[in-house]
Symmetry: C3
Amino acid sequence: HHPIFPPPESESETSWVWTQIKAEARRDAESEPALATHLYSTILSHPSLDRSLSFHLANKLSSSTLLSTLLYDLFLLSFSSDPSLVSSAVADLLAVRHRDPACVSFSHCLLNYKGFLACQAQRVAHRLWLQSRLPMALALHSRIADVFAVDIHPAARIGKGVLFDHATGLVVGETAVIGNNVSILHHVTLGGTGKVGGDRHPKIGDGVLIGAGATVLGNVKIGEGAKIGAGSLVLIDVPPRTTAVGNPARLIGGKERPARHE
Amino acid sequence: HHPIFPPPESESETSWVWTQIKAEARRDAESEPALATHLYSTILSHPSLDRSLSFHLANKLSSSTLLSTLLYDLFLLSFSSDPSLVSSAVADLLAVRHRDPACVSFSHCLLNYKGFLACQAQRVAHRLWLQSRLPMALALHSRIADVFAVDIHPAARIGKGVLFDHATGLVVGETAVIGNNVSILHHVTLGGTGKVGGDRHPKIGDGVLIGAGATVLGNVKIGEGAKIGAGSLVLIDVPPRTTAVGNPARLIGGKERPARHE
Amino acid sequence: HHPIFPPPESESETSWVWTQIKAEARRDAESEPALATHLYSTILSHPSLDRSLSFHLANKLSSSTLLSTLLYDLFLLSFSSDPSLVSSAVADLLAVRHRDPACVSFSHCLLNYKGFLACQAQRVAHRLWLQSRLPMALALHSRIADVFAVDIHPAARIGKGVLFDHATGLVVGETAVIGNNVSILHHVTLGGTGKVGGDRHPKIGDGVLIGAGATVLGNVKIGEGAKIGAGSLVLIDVPPRTTAVGNPARLIGGKERPARHE
């Protein structure tokens, strides 16, 4: 379940992952002919990961007034203009495959993980936001929230190698920052306290794990490698490599001598 | 971010808001031509707020067996028969614009806020419920729950000027009542205890604020201007202008001398 | 609200329930002509419950690349090959009608309850999983998670007579088992602790009731007839007919002399 797959040095990581995805899709289409059309249109007919992802996201997020053709162009152009969007997607694919024991293949994640798909679409919305294309960024944000029940403000900054596991109900506010290699379960809120404006949402360090249903409120700092227990309500900073649990959350081991893991 | 915009006395509040919405949509269509078709079909082609809202809700809530044309007629007729539905929508638009720092314009709310859209559709379902048109009210309820992940029973009564912020996962039971100027975050449940039938859900007073993930169960009364903390489990009455936090929730300051805010 | 309706001995339970559903749909189509097309296409045009359910699920779960015709065939074939899928659906219909005071008719549940529909589709996905048709099982799982915001792994085993009330945000992991006559409210997680692989999810006994927003983590055993309070975080076994509440959950009455109900 947790394979190690360093890409051969002669190939880029992206092309290595894309090669795996196509091989998986061919194998699945053979074993399940009823899915062949689906796999052909979403993966096998495309020459590259960015085209496959653009097509799939455009179909998922389109509506009767936001046509899939418009969204397809938007995604394609974003991916080709900013290669870091594609490398972030690849880092996420590797993260999900490594960290989620329920993930059986890269194509499983690419086609079926709403957290993965919402994250890729949000990064495009974030790029539009930075280009001051607010109406388009917010229209995309709205479609992601409707279709995946994942509500990440387009202004929020998200690192690479993130896993939004299950993802339903995830809410991330406008001034939140999520570091690299973060894992966040479903029903998690990175929100504001409602008492202040401006920079008002959590900053999540690299390698943090946030359990299901945790609520982190305010401009608090969750340090590198910290763990937030399921169902916790966190209103305070959490030091690096420290675990916080409970409602309201306390640091395990006490504030003075917090338990550190790893 | 928190503009004050008293409508000029010579115009009604509804027409003033509609004028703003059209001006915003024209500005957005100009700055983002790719959205022009979307903005034209949802806003600019319509002569009034109720027509724009009917069109947008009908498209969002239609399915292969509940056609958008049927829903469009249903919404149009409801809005024209009961002007309080339109004035409630306007009060909600003003509330969202005032209270949510992430809301950038009225048209942003009208087009993109699932909490706003779910609330307008629920008010129409409530009207159908009061007219004993249960099958239609429940079909609409089901579509709102599918499309927005917002599950408000059509019998529930909702006041004016409400903000359902983020809204994903909101569940409101059959005999719940929500007052005017209430703000409710996502993942909030106004539910029953499962121990009694009949009048079994919470009554939320005017101006109450309920934080993300709070669960309020039973026929309890949350007094005017009270605040319920995020992640709280509330099984008791909360006096006016009092804050309740925790699982199970306690009143801050103790039951005898609760802290009162404002 | 809680009618008793033993099917006449001369008829099977399935055909009795189907007769009720058609009578309800005819009555509703007469009282609400605008819904007649919807009711005809989803119920009245079909000769049996499994055909009606297949048609309705296929329409709800189809996408631009997973056609409703393909899903209709898949559901039809599954139901006709495995009659226990149909009898489970009937047991669920009876359970919802008996236990949920907000359910007004069998057809209300069949057409509108996302928890009911997600459960029937998951049982088909589970059958595909057992037949080693993983790509199809996972594609179906993904559509159920997108459309209903209900995320039940296709490997999870679900008994008969279950009620997933409201259902939005329900997450059930790969090795979870849910017994017969279980009632689970919305936002409930039956998840893993993230610390172990393999058999890592909760086992829920017959007749258990799990309140809204409860999180049950790890390979713990929730005994027959136990009750888990809303918003609880359960990391321990709960003995039969015992109530657990709180974050973290404690057994009411203490571990030695837990309060038992009924």
